[in-house]
C-alpha cells in the first residue's frame, strides 16, 4: 500500500463547485426534447373496490396525450418487478390497498395541464373496511391478500442458549411493550425519473434519482422484456436518498414503459405531497420485550416478539424487520435470547428501508430495556451498560446471530470516555440547580454497534486517459455522500496522483457493467476497497510499458508514489504521463484496470451517544442543551465527510425521536402530508453535535473501512426517551412510544407519567 497522503485528509469536495452555483443537474432539471410529463391520479382510499374509471373528459383536454388505466392494457396489470412474495400491479386494478396507490396515469405537455386533467378523472370507489394496525391485522378477519392466506408476510426467528426458559435464572424480569411510530425519509429532492427511447438502436436511456443504477436497470429490463444491455440507467445529481430511492416503484415502470411505447421522452417528478403518499416509509413496530437480569445488572436473557406494520405490500419492509432482529443485541453480551419478528400487512403505504433500516429499532428495544432494568434494580443507567458491554477480551465476539461477529474496538473504554466527557457528577449538580429555576434537565445515554455491508460486491473500472489522468467508474451511486472526492482520495494514494488528475463517474450503467449501489453504509467499504484493487491492476497493466521505456524486464519494475523505476534505481523513472505518451505513440488502446471487491464480512463500527435535554417545567418546551458522540469510524478517508454523515444522521434521528410521525386516522387516511404537519428538524431546534473519534481499523477488509452513514441515527429514539425520562425521575416518567412529540410528552406528564 502506498504511503498515505490523501486518505485521512479533510479535503473540501470536488463535486461542490457546480452545486453551489446552481449548476447541478437533478432529474427535475433534465429537459428532454419534446418531453411528456407524467402525472398520477392516486387512491384517496386505504381500501376500496374500483367500480368505474371515467377518463373521457381528461382525455379531451388540449395538451393531454394519453390517459391510462389498468383496464387499458395488460402491461398496467403486471406486478411490479423486484417485490416478493406479492407485488401490486403498476396501476391499481379492481382494488386499491392504500391511500396514494397510483390508479390513473396521465401524459400531457406539462405538469399544469396534466394536473388539470387529473382533476377531470372520475373514479368511482366502493370503500371497503380497512386494516390500519397490527392488532387488527393479526385477528385475521380481514385478509388483505387472500391468496397469501394470512396478513403475516414474514416471520424471522432466532434462539440462543435456553431462550425463553433462561428467564427463570434471572433475579429480576422487566417486561414492556415498546412502540415506534411511522416515519418518512423525506429527502429534499422528491423521487423522479425521466426516460428517452432511441428506436434505431432499441436503446432506452433512463435518468433516475436512484441509489442503485444496476438494480434499476435489471428491474426495468425485466418489466419491459428488454435485455439489460439495451437499458442504460444514469443517476444524475440525486438530492438525498436515505434508502427510499432504492426500491421498486410504479413510476419507474410507467415512465420507462411509456417512453418506449410512445417513442417519446417522458418525465415524472414527484411533488412533496406524493413523497408523503407514495414513497415507502419505515420504523413502525410494536415490541413485546422482556429482559431478565441478575441483581448486579448482568443480562441473563432477552425475549422479544415484535410486529412490523408493513403497509399493503412488502416494499422492502421484510428486510427491515429481519435486520431489526440482528440489532437487538446492541453492543451487549446476551447469553440467551428468543426473538420472533413478524411482518404484517395493513392498508398503508409499504415500508422499505430508511436510513438505519432496523438498526434504530433493535437498539431502541435493548437500550430501553436496560434503562428499565437499571431503574428496577436501583442501579445507575450508566453502570448497567458498563456491566454488559462486550469487552475487548471477548473479541471476536459471536453475538449468537448467524454471521454477526463483533471484531474490533473497546466498547467499555469508549463508553467511559463518554461518561467523562459528560462529567456525570457535575451534570447531577446542575440538574438539581436547574430544578430550582423551573427547568428540568435530563441525561440520556445509549451505546450502539453499526453493522454495515457484509454481502455482495462493488466494482471500480479505471481508464488511463491520453493526458495522464484517470477516470474511475463505479456502480456505487451518490446522493450527497461525496464519493467523487473520497474515492478519488483512495485512488490518488494508490496511483500517486493528485486529486485533480482523477475523475470519478458514478451511477451510470454504461460506465461499468456490474454494480450494486449505495445503501446500508456500504460504499466506502465495498467501492473503496475495489478502487484500490483496480488501481493495483492498472499499475500491473502499466508495468510492461514502463519496462519498455526503461529498457528493462517487467519483473524488475517497481512502482512507488506515481513513479515506475527499475528496482534499486529510483533516480531514473517514468510517470503516468510518460506512459500515456508512449501508448499514444504506439497507437495502443488506453490502459484499464477493473476489479470487484466481494465480501460477506460485515463491519462493526460502534460508539455511544449522550444527550442532555432541557424542559421548561411550565410549558414543557424541550430544548437540546448538549449532544455528545464518541464514535468509531474505522479508517477515515475524509474527516469532513465522515463528520458530515454522523451529524446529518444524528439530526435526522432527532426528528424521528421528537417531532416526526406519520399519522393515520382509523380509516387509514394519512393526516401528515405536508411539511406543516410532518415536522423535520430545522436549524433552530437542531443542536450542535460534539463528535469525539475513537477509530479502530476494521479487521475484515484490506483498508479497515467501516460504515458511517447510520451511526448518527441508530440510538436517537433510545437516547432521547431516556433523557426525557431522566428529567422526570421524580415522577418516574415512563416512555414506551417514540417519538416523544410535544403533544405526547404533555399527555404523559399530565397523566402522572405512567404511560405514553
Amino acid at each position: 500500500m502506498a504511503a498515505s497522503s490523501w486518505i485521512g485528509r479533510p479535503v473540501p469536495r470536488i463535486e461542490d463547485r457546480p452545486l453551489i452555483q446552481g449548476l447541478g443537474r437533478y432529474v427535475s432539471d433534465i429537459q428532454l426534447p419534446n418531453q411528456w410529463t407524467l402525472v398520477l391520479v392516486r387512491s384517496p382510499h386505504a381500501h376500496a373496490r374500483i367500480r368505474a374509471v371515467d377518463v373521457t373528459e381528461a382525455q379531451r383536454l388540449p395538451g393531454v396525450f394519453y390517459v391510462a388505466t389498468a383496464t387499458d392494457d395488460e402491461v398496467f396489470r403486471r406486478p411490479l418487478p423486484g417485490m416478493s412474495p406479492i407485488a401490486p400491479p403498476v396501476l391499481a386494478y379492481e382494488r386499491v390497498y392504500y391511500v396514494g396507490q397510483p390508479v390513473v396515469a396521465i401524459l400531457a405537455e406539462n405538469r399544469y395541464v396534466a394536473e388539470d386533467a387529473a382533476d377531470l378523472v372520475k373514479v368511482q370507489y366502493e370503500p371497503l373496511p380497512s386494516v390500519t394496525n397490527v392488532e387488527h391485522a393479526l385477528k385475521g378477519d380481514l385478509l388483505l391478500h387472500p391468496e397469501l392466506g394470512s396478513n403475516i408476510v414474514d416471520h424471522v426467528s432466532y434462539r440462543r442458549g435456553a431462550g425463553h426458559e433462561a428467564l427463570n435464572q434471572a433475579d429480576v424480569v422487566v417486561q414492556v411493550t415498546l412502540r415506534m411510530g411511522r416515519v418518512s425519509a423525506q429527502p429534499m429532492e422528491p423521487r423522479g425519473i425521466a426516460a428517452i427511447y432511441h428506436p434505431a438502436d432499441d436503446l432506452l436511456t433512463v435518468y433516475h434519482a436512484t441509489q442503485s443504477v444496476h438494480r434499476a436497470q435489471e428491474r426495468i429490463a425485466e418489466f419491459l422484456g428488454m435485455p439489460t444491455s439495451q437499458v442504460r440507467v444514469i443517476a444524475p445529481d440525486v438530492g438525498g436518498g436515505f434508502g427510499v430511492k432504492n426500491g421498486t416503484y410504479p413510476e419507474e415502470a410507467l415512465v420507462t414503459y411509456f417512453a418506449r411505447h410512445w417513442g417519446h421522452p417522458v418525465k415524472w417528478t414527484g411533488d412533496r405531497f406524493e413523497e408523503f403518499l407514495g414513497t415507502y416509509q419505515e420504523r413502525e413496530q410494536t415490541h413485546h420485550a422482556t429482559l431478565g437480569v441478575k441483581k448486579d445488572g448482568t443480562i441473563v436473557a432477552l425475549v422479544d416478539t415484535y410486529y412490523q406494520d408493513n403497509g399493503a405490500f412488502p416494499g422492502g419492509g421484510i428486510m427491515v424487520s429481519r435486520n431489526t432482529a440482528r440489532n437487538l443485541m446492541g453492543p451487549y453480551r446476551i447469553p440467551h435470547f428468543a426473538i420472533d419478528g413478524y411482518t404484517v400487512l395493513t392498508n398503508k403505504v409499504p415500508q422499505a428501508p430508511y436510513r438505519g433500516a432496523g438498526r434504530p429499532q433493535g437498539h431502541y428495544v435493548i437500550e430501553r430495556l436496560l434503562d428499565r432494568a437499571a431503574d428496577t434494580l436501583g442501579l445507575d443507567r450508566a453502570e448497567i451498560r458498563l456491566r454488559n458491554l462486550v469487552r475487548p477480551e471477548d473479541l471476536p465476539y459471536d453475538t449468537g446471530i448467524p454471521d454477526l461477529v463483533y471484531d474490533s474496538g473497546n466498547y467499555p473504554e469508549v463508553f467511559r470516555d463518554l461518561l467523562d466527557l459528560v462529567d456525570l457528577p457535575a451534570f447531577r449538580r446542575e440538574q438539581a440547580e436547574a430544578r430550582q429555576r423551573g427547568v428540568r434537565l435530563g441525561l440520556g445515554l445509549a451505546a450502539y454497534v453499526e453493522i454495515s455491508a457484509g454481502f455482495g460486491f462493488e466494482g471500480a473500472r479505471l481508464v488511463l486517459s491520453d493526458n495522464g489522468t484517470v477516470t474511475l467508474y463505479t456502480g456505487a451511486t451518490n446522493q450527497g455522500q461525496g464519493h467523487r472526492t473520497s474515492l478519488a482520495q483512495i485512488l490518488a494514494d494508490t496511483l500517486g496522483l493528485g486529486l485533480e488528475d482523477i475523475t470519478v463517474v458514478e451511477g451510470d450503467t454504461a460506465g461499468i457493467p456490474r454494480g450494486i449501489g449505495t445503501f446500508g453504509s456500504r460504499t466506502m467499504i465495498m467501492a473503496g476497497n475495489a478502487t484500490h484493487m483496480a488501481g493495483e491492476r492498472l499499475i500491473e497493466a502499466a508495468k510492461p510499458w514502463a519496462a519498455e521505456l526503461l529498457e528493462a524486464h517487467r519483473d524488475d519494475i517497481v512502482f512507488d508514489a506515481g513513479h515506475f523505476f527499475v528496482k534499486g534505481v529510483p533516480s531514473r523513472s517514468v510517470n503516468w504521463r510518460d506512459l500515456t505518451e508512449r501508448l499514444k505513440a504506439a497507437g495502443s488502446a488506453p490502459l484499464t484496470g477493473e476489479e470487484y471487491f466481494s465480501s460477506n464480512v460485515a463491519t462493526y463500527g460502534f460508539g455511544a451517544h449522550a444527550v442532555i435535554v432541557e424542559i421548561d417545567e411550565a410549558t414543557l418546551q424541550l430544548r437540546i442543551q448538549r449532544y455528545l458522540i464518541v464514535h468509531d469510524s474505522g479508517t477515515v478517508v475524509n474527516p469532513l465527510l465522515t463528520n458530515g454523515q454522523v451529524i446529518g444522521g444524528t439530526i435526522q434521528g432527532l426528528g424521528s425521536a421528537l417531532w416526526e410521525e406519520m399519522q393515520f386516522n382509523e380509516d387509514g387516511q394519512p393526516l401528515t402530508t405536508s411539511f406543516l404537519d410532518y415536522l423535520l428538524p430545522a436549524a433552530v431546534e437542531s443542536p450542535e453535535i460534539e463528535i469525539h473519534h475513537r477509530d479502530y481499523r476494521a479487521p475484515g477488509n484490506p483498508f479497515g473501512f467501516k460504515g458511517v452513514g447510520e451511526a448518527g441515527i441508530i440510538p436517537s429514539q433510545a437516547v432521547i426517551l431516556a433523557a426525557v425520562e431522566d428529567a422526570y425521575r421524580d415522577i418516574q416518567l415512563r416512555l414506551d412510544y417514540a417519538p416523544v412529540t410535544p403533544k405526547r410528552l404533555f399527555a404523559t406528564v399530565a397523566e402522572g407519567g405512567n404511560r405514553a
Binding site: 452545486l19 452555483q21 429527502p187 429534499m188 412533496r272 458530515g644 433552530v684 448518527g712
Partner: protein, 164 residues
C-alpha cells in the same frame, strides 16, 4: 398569456407567461435556470428562495406575473465572472452541503442575512435560516459556513460582491 419583463441576474427578459405559472417554474422552464429548486411547493423548505430586489422570496409561492418589472437574483447569478461569492466559497470549504438540493436556498438566504447583519452569532444564523430545510447536513456545517463567510466579508470589506 400575459407579457411581462423580468430582470434576472442582471439580464432583462421579455416574457409571455400564463397567469397561473409560478415564478419558480418560469425561471426553471422558460429561462432554464434550474438552480432554483422545488423541494415542497408549499412554502416551507426554502429551496426555491430567490432574492427579489435583494430580499429573499419563495418563488414557489409567487405567481410569475406579480414579478413584472422585478429584479431577481438566482443562485446562478451570485458568482461574478467565475469568482465565487464568499458565501459560496465558505459553503464549499466548510462542507456545508451534501446532496446540494437545499443549497441554493440556503446560500441566498445567508447572503441576505449577512447584508442585514454582518456579524451574526451562531444563534442569529440559525434563526435566520429557520425557514430553510436541509435533510442531509444537520445544519452545523451550514452555520460554520455562514460564520466563515461573515469573517471573509468583513476582512475584504468593500471589495466583496454585494449579491445584488
Amino acid at each position: 398569456m400575459i407579457p411581462m419583463t423580468l430582470t434576472v441576474n442582471g439580464q432583462s427578459y421579455q416574457l409571455t407567461v400564463e397567469p397561473r405559472w409560478l415564478l419558480a417554474d418560469v425561471l426553471r422552464e422558460q429561462l432554464h435556470l434550474t438552480g432554483t429548486h422545488l423541494g415542497c411547493e408549499h412554502g416551507v423548505c426554502g429551496a426555491c428562495t430567490v432574492l427579489w430586489d435583494g430580499r429573499p422570496v419563495r418563488s414557489c409561492l409567487t405567481l410569475a406575473v406579480t414579478a413584472d418589472g422585478a429584479n431577481i437574483l438566482t443562485i446562478e447569478g451570485l458568482a461574478a465572472e467565475g469568482i465565487l461569492h464568499p458565501v459560496q466559497e465558505a459553503f464549499w470549504q466548510e462542507h456545508a452541503l451534501q446532496c446540494g438540493f437545499c443549497t441554493p436556498g440556503f446560500i441566498l438566504t445567508a447572503v441576505h442575512l449577512l447584508q442585514e447583519n454582518p456579524e451574526p452569532t451562531r444563534e442569529e444564523i440559525r434563526e435566520a435560516l429557520a425557514g430553510n430545510l436541509c435533510r442531509c447536513t444537520g445544519y452545523q456545517h451550514i452555520v460554520n459556513a455562514v460564520q466563515r463567510a461573515a469573517a471573509a466579508l468583513s476582512d475584504n470589506h468593500g471589495h466583496a460582491p454585494s449579491g445584488q
